[in-house]
């Protein structure tokens, strides 16, 4: 069924009780051409693009929990592409290109809102670094511009730009093409569109092993619902990528950290864009429901527990209140944690692995959501063609041996 104003009206007449299910919950077949491990936005998107663009429809997505229950449903939904290096600009801007028009393509409202992302500079180093970013972005054709403190204040009226603050605002880099989207919608939209093209979506089915033949190539996966054969396996398991890759006997340059976020009680519209402050590790936006959505920095230790320490949130809220004194009396409703897989250079690994037939899309760390459509498309391309697209070719595993790192962390944009 195609979603439209007409179908909405027709279903309203029947009290919204006759909407068909969005996608069936399938039991696995014995064999697939491609199995995607991980039913988040990246995995579901890869399955969709495999079927839609690259003509491979005998595909299954296998998810341990429920769709989008991992980092897809736990992030702060920020989308932007103002990264410093050429490789990063290419991959993140590819994603933003696909975010544009994604709702129409999937016939599912992903609520992509280009409200702008303002990254604040609090000291001279920030100012110089962000201006360098703006120039690099413009050379790469990526939208980004520099605002002085008054222009920041004009764009975000509730910002405190007085210079007696702990974190004075000395300017900001504004990307107007950036914004937020509805995270659950992205997972469900890709799932529905993929299922319509013949992809099987299998939930509540953990992968327990990866079977390799005598030649070393993959033969399929062991799961809670039995063995499923496949010649190609794509792993898109975020924080658990290390454990899944270990099933194929591979060690990876990844560490998994808790990353926390929290939301406030809903209030009337007060914050018109996304405001980020890398120096103090705080990001804030207001959801369409009116809640302030706030992201913190990672905890310092590795963990798979999906929770973090309170002092990390306290530090973030302290910063938020310094920048926006108006929020001092807001009450927080809930907080949660996700597990993010971080690479040494803070850039993802997206491509082939040393095992034949095994592909990986991991290492997105604290910033995977924004890349969802781009990463999914490039992952599908890599799996279908057995070689990477030129955009994701630099994001190979070999870079940690050759030293050709894409070192976004050192470029001061630590927050992703």
């Amino acid at each position: 069924m195609k979603y439209s104003a007409r179908s909405l009206f027709a279903n309203a007449l029947s009290g919204h009780k006759k909407w068909p299910e969005q996608f069936p919950n399938k039991d696995p077949k014995k064999q697939y051409d491609v199995i995607i491990v991980g039913g988040g936005g990246h995995g579901l998107g890869a399955a969709y693009y495999l079927a839609k663009k690259y003509g491979i429809t005998n595909v299954a997505v296998i998810e341990k929990g429920w769709l989008g229950g991992g980092n897809t449903g736990r992030n702060t939904t920020i989308i932007r592409s103002n990264y410093l290096y050429d490789e990063s600009a290419a991959i993140y801007d590819h994603a933003v290109d696909l975010w544009d028009g994604l709702s129409q393509e999937l016939n599912y409202n992903t609520m992509f809102s280009k409200r702008g992302v303002l990254m604040l500079a609090h000291n001279v180093h920030d100012v110089q670094s962000f201006q360098r970013h703006v120039h690099a972005n413009r050379l790469n054709g990526v939208d980004n511009k520099w605002l002085n403190p008054e222009a920041c204040k004009k764009f975000v009226p509730i910002l405190d730009i007085s210079n007696n603050r702990h974190y004075p605002v000395m300017g900001g880099a504004l990307q107007m093409r950036a914004g937020t989207a509805r995270h659950d919608s992205v997972a469900w939209g890709y799932a529905r569109a993929a299922a319509q093209l013949g992809v099987d979506i299998i939930q509540n089915c953990a992968v327990t092993g990866i079977k390799r033949g005598p030649d070393g190539a993959v033969q399929g996966v062991e799961t809670e619902k039995g063995f499923i054969a496949a010649g190609k396996i794509g792993v898109s398991a975020a924080g658990h990528s290390s454990t899944v890759m270990a099933m194929a006997g591979l060690r990876f340059p990844l560490e998994s950290y808790p990353l926390q976020a929290l939301v406030s009680e809903p209030v009337k519209p007060v914050l018109n864009c996304v405001v980020m402050s890398n120096a103090v590790h705080a990001y804030i936006s207001q959801s369409d429901k009116g809640e302030l959505v706030i992201g913190a920095g990672t905890d310092q230790y590795t963990s798979y527990s999906q929770r973090g320490a309170l002092h990390v949130l306290e530090h973030t809220l302290m910063s938020i209140c310094e920048i926006f004194p108006i929020f001092k009396r807001m009450r927080m409703l809930r907080s949660w944690g996700g597990i993010v897989d971080v690479t040494p250079d803070r850039s993802p690994i997206l491509g082939k692995t040393p095992v034949e037939g095994l592909y990986v899309n991991c290492g997105w760390g604290t910033g995977g959501f924004k890349a969802t459509p781009g990463a999914a498309n490039l992952f599908a391309y890599t799996i279908a063609n057995d070689h990477p697209h030129k955009i994701n070719a630099p994001y190979n595993l070999e870079r940690f041996v050759t030293g050709r790192l894409i070192d976004e962390a050192a470029a001061a944009a630590v927050a992703h």
Binding site: S242, P253, E255, T302, Y304, S305, R307, H311, F400
Partner: protein, 102 residues
């Protein structure tokens, strides 16, 4: 927030006094100049990222300023044992015994 037992202070202190310092027992090879790029990459970048008991270094930065090692379960976040830098990695048996409070 963790309460972490510093083996040098022999006291349980709040996590905010400590800094995490990565996986423990990764020794730099003495013949580093003879290592291949692959071996060097393993030393620099590749980690166990264990899901379960994990040996890791902590630094009592705002306390005695000493580095020490710990075994922590990365699923439950519970510390089994902390030990001084010159002590060996505890065996599985010792970790289990520590978890049972022996």
């Amino acid at each position: 927030m963790f309460e972490i037992h510093c083996p040098y202070c022999d006291e349980k202190r709040s996590e905010i006094e400590f800094a995490y310092a990565g996986e423990a027992h990764i020794a730099r090879e003495t013949n580093a100049d003879q290592l291949s790029d692959v071996e060097w990459a393993q030393f620099l970048f590749y980690r166990d990222n264990a899901r379960g008991d994990h040996c890791e270094r902590w630094w009592h930065q705002h306390g005695c300023n000493m580095f020490f090692n710990a075994v922590r379960n990365t699923v439950s976040d519970k510390f089994a044992v902390t030990y001084k830098m010159d002590q060996k990695r505890p065996s599985v048996k010792m970790i289990e015994a520590a978890k049972n409070g022996k």
